[in-house]
Symmetry: C2
């Protein structure tokens, strides 16, 4: 990092927002990707950004981008660092733009159900701001307390209530962003438009490679009149999927539908199911909406469940899940117990999903050090469903963990691709998954993405090395 660049940044946004201390640089070397944490825990040297800037306004982000653009300095946008795919791995050539000081609620519009936030607003704070008015964003990623509204957009996040309320692309109304050329764009003006391609999608899921998201307006909901839970044991994953498919294809939409395999039932719900689970899976649902519709849905869902051979499970399971649902594991505790763990989310059509489950689990179980390979589904569509795999491996020597980790990932990615599934449901791609996205996009799709990236960021300044496979 040239000292002139740092001096220029200080001049543009003020000394107090430009940080070069060891602490400031060390804290922002990586996101929540297990591999970075493992390397760090093992004492491997991870590169630091050249400088950390903490802008407090969109104008300051523009000023930073102009400095970067003129000096051809790479830029990495950073929210709260909760990404789990290695989207953040800066090096000393990089200006790291930490957006967490841009954390204002800009406006809440109760008539039109719109809320605008600075991109660095923490998710749970955003939700609480609208909840105080009887509203909800309806977007509940597990990371809600450690992620930002801008990060949701940049990673194409999905929330736990997505089956009825949609994923982030269904909730975003407009996006304010600074492009690599310094242009400020406001994309998304009206409830819906046919004014050319929807350019919000250049930034949704771009993981920092197209520009810096500085503000987000979300379309809210009124808090539901009623919430209810239902829970059923599934005699097999297949029976559970069939019941879920029947429910959503009959046009019932419980916001939450989660099916756990028997391994995860034992692990997560033992206290409540010890006497009744009998090695079965579990389908948990949360039902929300006007009371009369919730009542109708509960009745319909119970009837469909019975038709598919599902049996009622303890009622407390739903609230039990709700209370623990935002827990984020601490990697270090696991490393210290000789364990490495991760989750991998993929999606596929109803006809493909069981084969992907069987094949991925079988392949994971071939890994010598594997202790656990399991999955649940957590996001349901008319056309298919996701799977959220968990693997856990044990190594006495932590030097072996990284290779095992990458091998497990490769096995699940390849099993998914082999049977026609999509390799990335909602964690994004980062550096971890970038070599697999060709399975989704094809070679020509990757070329198209590369062309667009080059058009938006001709000098390749934005988060270099992330998301797009190397040529």
């Amino acid at each position: 990092m040239k000292s002139e660049v740092i001096a220029k940044l200080r001049k543009e946004i003020g000394d107090g927002k430009v940080h070069t201390s060891d602490d400031a640089l060390d804290e922002r070397r990586f996101d929540y990707w297990v591999v970075s944490h493992l390397q760090n825990w093992r004492g491997e040297e991870l590169p630091r950004p050249g400088v950390v800037v903490r802008p407090e306004s969109t104008e300051e982000v523009q000023a930073i981008m102009r400095v970067a653009s003129v000096s051809k300095t790479p830029v990495v946008p950073y929210g709260l660092g909760s990404g789990v795919c290695g989207g953040i791995r800066p090096d000393p050539s990089v200006i790291l733009v930490d957006l967490s000081s841009m954390n204002l609620v800009r406006e809440i519009d109760e008539t039109n159900l719109l809320a605008s936030f600075d991109a660095g607003k923490q998710g749970l704070e955003a939700e609480e701001a609208v909840a105080a008015l009887g509203l909800t964003i309806g977007h509940w990623p597990q990371s809600i307390a450690v992620s930002t509204v801008g990060g949701w957009v940049s990673t194409r996040a999905a929330g736990q209530f997505s089956t009825a309320y949609g994923n982030i692309e269904d909730i975003v109304y407009s996006i304010e962003a600074v492009l690599p050329n310094g242009d400020l764009v406001h994309l998304g003006k009206a409830p819906r438009a046919a004014a050319g391609p929807d350019l919000r999608h250049i930034l949704l899921g771009a993981e920092g490679i197209m520009g810096i998201v500085t503000g987000v307006t979300l379309a809210l909901r009124r808090q539901p009149e009623e919430r209810a839970y239902s829970a059923f044991y599934t005699p097999s994953l297949a029976a559970g999927f069939d019941a879920q498919r029947a429910i959503v294809q009959s046009d019932w939409l419980p916001p939450v539908m989660r099916q756990y395999d028997a391994s995860e039932v034992t692990r997560n719900f033992r206290d409540l199911t010890a006497e009744t689970a009998n090695d079965r899976g579990l389908l948990l649902m949360v039902h929300e909406g006007p009371a009369s519709r919730v009542a109708a849905e509960l009745e319909a869902v119970a009837s469909i469940a019975a038709e598919h051979g599902l049996e009622a499970a303890p009622e407390e399971l739903g609230p039990h899940w709700m209370n623990g649902r935002n827990h984020v594991p601490a990697w270090r505790d696991l490393f210290e117990r000789n364990l490495i763990v991760d989750t991998i989310e993929v999606s596929a059509s109803w006809s493909q999903i069981e084969t992907i489950y069987d094949d991925a689990i079988a392949s994971l179980l071939e890994v010598d050090s594997i202790i656990i390979a399991s999955a649940h589904s957590s996001h349901v569509y008319r056309t298919g469903i996701n799977l959220y795999f968990t693997f856990l491996a044990r190594h006495e020597d932590s030097a072996d963990m990284e290779a095992t980790y990458l091998d497990c990932w490769r096995r699940v990615m390849e099993a998914t691709a082999r049977h026609g599934g999509g390799v990335a449901h909602h964690h994004g791609s980062g550096r971890l998954r970038k070599d697999y996205i060709v399975h989704d996009l094809g070679e020509t799709g990757v070329s198209l993405l590369r062309s667009i990236k080059k058009a938006v960021d001709p000098h390749g300044l934005m988060n270099p090395g992330n998301l797009i496979p190397d040529e």
Copy 2:
């Protein structure tokens, strides 16, 4: 058009699919834009494409695109010509690619509710193919019998049942397209993905400027168990909007919600409302879904309507609208009666929409020759609603019609933009609206669109002059 290009096309796809007859060229000079029809009716010379090709496979489209690319010949994709914004205005330099011979149902997947069509498949035929299996696309543009599945994608179409079933971008699962460089892309693989930006949106709404859509896979629904209607008189547009807002913001979603102003009630529903309308507006709804949910919705909607001072209207209004809803007017009949007419669809937040209505109608009524200026809403969102204006003007001399027409458009576009609305709800932009989309995108957004267009189509071959404002 150079004769070598035509010869090359003949060689690549066969003589029988390359047309240069007067009839073939004359028939495809323009789409359903009133201005083109007016000019043609008045005997003005409208340019013809240089050649018409009618490919029967994706491979043939690729071959055509390669010929165009090598010879730097412009290309205009053409479906059934039902666009109403002048997206089609070829000239003799152009290869017009008529996709209507690519009209196969490729696959209908009843398990995963997916149907794949050639892009040139006529909309109603596509719907009938899935309807035979108890399924529905759920996309009912007024043009359904005269538009193609590929055209729906290219124009970002909206259907009459959009309030529950979404617009085309919510229904499209994947898009197959030939890019200007000849690459074949398949965009959209899984029910949902976070594998970088969603590149389907490069083609959705591109109106032929980014490539040629050759195939579309749509996510279907099962036909609903129940359909019911409701109809209410609205004492004012404001009261009607408030009731609609209360309905959707309470999370009820009648697929169809249409509010007509008093002028349109008289014009469209006189036979059924002559004794009861009393210069009031009308809110029509269609309710669909599981029977128990429809029953709950009907009850809730009646109660919300009553709270907002709406009164029950004759029950036959819903079925009456359903039966006549796909009527498309014949411009020529109107010209012959000295009339010029068009519709203009915009959208805005709930707080903006009444002002836009008032201002646009007042402005239209300032036009000397205007006879009718009215509107209805037909697409509802949590955050706002659309308006679908109709204007009708009378000129003894048809030479005056075009100026009046453009003046009326300008008035509605400017009234919409002045109050913060979106200038294009679902007809697309074409050549008619391209100078107004800056109101939606901003100058920097237009620049971004231009950069992406240049990246995808560096030689500017695809539908030149369409959609993007001239520099």
